[in-house]
């Protein structure tokens, strides 16, 4: 079976010489709910950016369902939806416009976009807010919009970079339910989060990255099961960043 994501020896060095990712290799199987953990600055977002075209890898290869994400980037992008950590949207646009434009970039026809957007607006309870400028929305609503945008093309691989940061408990639970549903439908999900209970609840496999390298990888049980303190203790043991982790929460 072709893995949903296969990263081999990924290296990313920024212009000023900062090595963000160094020889990182990772495989995510199709249908998996994969937790990608690490302290701030560990290289999680950089890895995601290299996978999605926001950053240019310095070395190594990335394959998405067997498609090279650099050499055959157009085909690879079709398979991916990204919910980024930061709100990278036009703040004057409305939620409907933001999601509609994204569908357009993916080549979806007007009828396809309308049906999909209607579904997503309803699913994320954005209907009453769909014509308000993005900048006037609350943090939780903004998060829903970028998640809806990531889902507009019905991606086979959904990448979620801190999707519940700054989100209230109620919305968090709505998102969890939805993510579990689409994962059960066969969508592969890669999740980064500082909320370890979220990762424990949702993910089956986990990789922990620190200083640009994978320091631990396995099933949730393999990583958390052997440690009395569960995933949190295991995480702190391999990252050695207790203070940073607490700050992240």
């Amino acid at each position: 079976m072709i893995p949903a994501l296969k990263i081999s020896h990924l290296r990313k060095v920024y212009r000023r010489g900062n090595v963000a990712v160094d020889d990182l290799s990772l495989t995510v199987n199709e249908g998996d709910f994969f937790g990608f953990l690490g302290p701030n600055g560990a290289g999680k977002s950089t890895t995601i950016h290299c996978m999605t075209g926001i950053a240019e890898p310095t070395g190594g290869t990335i394959e998405i369902f067997g498609v090279d994400a650099v050499k055959n980037y157009r085909e690879a992008r079709r398979l991916v939806g990204l919910c980024p950590q930061e709100f990278n949207v036009d703040p004057f646009a409305t939620p409907r416009q933001i999601v509609d434009w994204m569908g357009g970039y993916f080549g979806m026809s007007a009828a396809q976009r309308k049906a999909r957007i209607d579904h997503l607006m309803e699913r994320f309870e954005l209907g009453p807010h769909e014509k308000k400028p993005f900048r006037e929305l609350s943090g939780g609503l903004k998060r829903r919009v970028v998640l809806a945008r990531a889902l507009v093309n019905d991606p086979k691989l959904l990448i979620l970079d801190e999707p519940t940061a700054g989100v209230d408990v109620e919305l968090r639970r709505i998102l969890w339910r939805y993510l579990q549903e689409i994962n059960a439908d066969g969508r592969t999900i890669l999740l980064t989060s500082h909320y370890l209970e979220e990762v424990e609840r949702l993910c089956r496999d986990i990789a922990i990255v620190n200083k640009g390298r994978i320091v631990r990888q396995g099933t949730k049980d393999e990583i958390a099961g052997g440690t009395p303190g569960g995933l949190e203790e295991a995480y702190l043991a391999v990252t050695g960043s207790a203070a940073e982790h607490v700050a992240g929460q």
Binding site: T46, I54, N88, G107, N153
Partner: protein, 262 residues
């Protein structure tokens, strides 16, 4: 879910989406995008064409106001094109929503073509408004429609591409204005908007011939009133070369991810 129909291998829906997005952005600032250049053109035409021009001798058998109008038109086409693409690229980088297109399956050529299509829309609407103002003064004339369209579209595209380069390069609002202040405005003003080459002192004429704006203004003027100071082939040739060079430059910047990717 995604529509895989792509005539000629082009994602037309994606390309059209860039146009829809930018037109929507443009329509949020109609005074800045259209009203300001129309008022500016009206004042130029009234003061220089009508008030001052009324005392000027005819040039090439045409009233001075008809000589001035094409220059004013080209001045505004250049500004509208450059401002549209430079601000669109810069703001999308500044606010990071350029990442929406980077993570999508759009090709670099489609992204550039989408940006240029918006540039042509904006400069064409600006030009139509100025032509209507010119009509009110009896100054609007077109002697060759194909040539007129060539100059509007080609010059829009050249300055749209230049705007993309500056939008990618700029790291601040200050840098965004550098080219306009030090290059576009001075060169366009001395490129023959208000005067013929023969009106310049002899020692300054060679500078005019080396000024690309002179060929753009001269070209559109010829397409409107049939008056030209250089062989037309030279202007067309230089413009096509400039267009190709600029396009290849921008395509290379996109391919390398300059100003786009981390």
């Amino acid at each position: 879910m995604q529509d895989t129909r792509k005539p000629l291998g082009i994602n037309w829906i994606g390309l059209g989406t860039i146009v829809r997005r930018e037109v929507s952005r443009m329509m949020r600032v109609p005074i800045q995008a259209f009203i300001a250049p129309w008022i500016s053109a009206l004042l130029f035409i009234f003061i220089f064409g009508y008030v001052v021009g009324g005392r000027m001798p005819a040039i090439g058998g045409r009233p001075y106001i008809q000589f001035v109008l094409p220059g004013v038109l080209m001045l505004n086409i250049v500004n509208a094109s450059f401002l549209q693409s430079s601000s669109a690229i810069y703001f999308s980088r500044f606010l990071r929503f350029i990442e929406e297109t980077l993570v999508s399956p759009m090709s670099y050529v489609e992204m550039i073509a989408g940006s240029l299509a918006v540039v042509v829309v904006r400069s064409t609407v600006t030009a139509i408004g100025i032509m209507v103002i010119g009509l009110a003064f009896g100054a609007t004339a077109i002697s060759s429609v194909p040539a007129f369209l060539f100059w509007v579209v080609a010059v829009s595209a050249i300055f749209g591409l230049l705007g993309i380069v500056i939008g990618l390069w700029s790291k601040s609002f200050e840098q965004l204005n550098v080219l306009t202040v030090f290059f576009i405005t001075p060169l366009s003003m001395v490129g023959g908007v208000f005067n013929t080459i023969t009106m310049l002192p002899g020692w300054l004429r060679w500078l005019a011939y080396g000024n690309p704006f002179f060929y753009f203004i001269n070209g559109i003027r010829h397409s409107m009133i049939g008056y030209s100071e250089v062989p037309q082939g030279l202007g067309y040739g230089l413009t096509v070369v400039a267009l190709v060079v600029m396009f290849l430059w921008v395509l290379r910047l996109y391919s390398k991810g300059y100003g786009l990717r981390e």
